[in-house]
Symmetry: C2
Subunit: 338 residues, 2 copies
Amino acid sequence: MKQDTSGSRPTPTLEMVAALAGVSRATVSRVVNDVPSVDEDIAAKVRQAILAVNYTPNRAARSLASRRPNSVTLIVPESTSKVFADPFFASVVQGVALYLADTDYTLNMVIASEAKPEKTRAFLLGGNVAGALVVSHHAGDRSWTHLSDYIPMVFAGRPLGESASYYVDVDNEAAAAGATRVLIESGRTNIATIAGPQDMPPGIDRVNGWRAAMAEAGLDDSRVEYGDFTLASGAKAMRRLLGSGKPVDGVFVANDQMAAGAYTVLQERGLRIPEDVAVVGFDDDSFATSVNPQLTTVHHPIIEMGKKMAEILVDLIEGKDTARVTQIPTSLVIRESV
Amino acid sequence: MKQDTSGSRPTPTLEMVAALAGVSRATVSRVVNDVPSVDEDIAAKVRQAILAVNYTPNRAARSLASRRPNSVTLIVPESTSKVFADPFFASVVQGVALYLADTDYTLNMVIASEAKPEKTRAFLLGGNVAGALVVSHHAGDRSWTHLSDYIPMVFAGRPLGESASYYVDVDNEAAAAGATRVLIESGRTNIATIAGPQDMPPGIDRVNGWRAAMAEAGLDDSRVEYGDFTLASGAKAMRRLLGSGKPVDGVFVANDQMAAGAYTVLQERGLRIPEDVAVVGFDDDSFATSVNPQLTTVHHPIIEMGKKMAEILVDLIEGKDTARVTQIPTSLVIRESV
DNA sequence: TTGTACGCGTTATCAT
DNA sequence: ATGATAACGCGTACAA
């Protein structure tokens, strides 16, 4: 790389642009930063010079002089190689990156080694980062909450206990209730649910939504089995449901992956979907469409969540006051499973 | 955040440490950068002062003064929200992050908007980044190859055509041949393959490996169907294989996701795995174990790839010469499908 | 081995 | 509206 053969010019600086345009560095700086008080003719000349030398601002110098970091950090819990296997994480990142692309902030990632958390702490608190985003699966991990006292932080998902932190989430309970209603309106009366872990907010909220809808319709809400959001656990839960003695003609599953698991046991028992038992999932991830018949499910706008998280973080950094909790609307995707 | 109530002390600087330790800033700088020529007693005193004031170096200042960027960029093609849905991507990132955690480089991510590729180009070439990593799915995308002339770049996966770029990959062909041999050694003789797209290196190499093993054993290598690495395409290919008239008692599938697809049609036809037809996959991802019976497959050490990519990039940045292509060894994971 | 002093590329303050 | 010029926090010749 780097063909440094004699004539390779150095990366252009403000200084060079200024010289070429016949103005001071201050003026160039103003143009670059869109300060309104610049004469339009001069500005034009400067812009031309910028193009001519192919100038790009040096971020380090900029950050140093302005005394503020120009990067935000995405914190990823190490524990979980699961976090990475989870499409959820990937999509959030995507949303975050997409939003930040239009700002002056750069996105950097740290995987929070629990081996030496002080390192991460030091990095975040060392003044090198303008703010941080925390995404830990569906979970309500808040081990970083206290850092909110020092730098702006935004979390993905509702925290477990009380917490003064900023976060963005979907209204899991309302969405789950809506999904359940689809089952109810299709005429099913023996509706079960395969719920998620009860130590995670989405796990909790989604059963509650199901319960609410069932109560609202005056239906029996005793058919509940729990899984851990994995495909295998969904299959097991379905098996328990079928073996319980109680009839089941519809099931709301707390995520698509478990729904896919439920599919396998339903189908190995010769039960038809949706004729014999209708299924509604949650998330609208790749499992929803890779399954046959394709799954009716709640669309979880994960990329949007990422975007919103970034947006809120930037607002926080720039001192605008924003709501602590913001909910992204979900929608129901009707496919073939109900 | 930021309780700026009166007494909040400013982020500590070299200067402050120097004052406290009673030495010059230069000395502190040396200690921080592990310059050997410092008197151990003084160094100790300095280190103590550093701890005392809780000093963290300012990365921007450091980068500015040393005239070299301290961050590397991970480039992710935007096109594909698929890239993000792909566990492959996530794992590479993880490996990269893990490696970089022990260096002084910071990892930042850009999603390469094809809308305005100049922006990405400018960012990379503006001197703000020490090097870049490119990961684009299983593909051999090399639209960034030319940047190698200006900054160190390392790619994931073998490029399609000739290319002078650095990359790390697994030996897909050898691994595929090895996987096929497992089928052969189990006594199968009518061995088919569900191959990947023939415009991607892994797609190409993996069929070739299968062919080589078949030839080596003197077996018929005409049973080939193609998919696109998705579950659905694997199912379709399996269906074609079964409908071809030729008997099939074993199949090497170019990735686990397609293997999962093949499973569904095998099982819906009442064929037993592995009794009636044995299956071997490739990747050893979550699909391999979420399927029943669990899949025998080639372990693709993706995290290791990420680590290696980062390692090579850092070497490149620091001027060490390294091999252009480095292969990570794979291994066979024997489970229940053969 | 340690300190002095200059420079890195910008922004920001203060004149003009 | 524009231009000097002093920071910003640190690395690094060079001198001592």
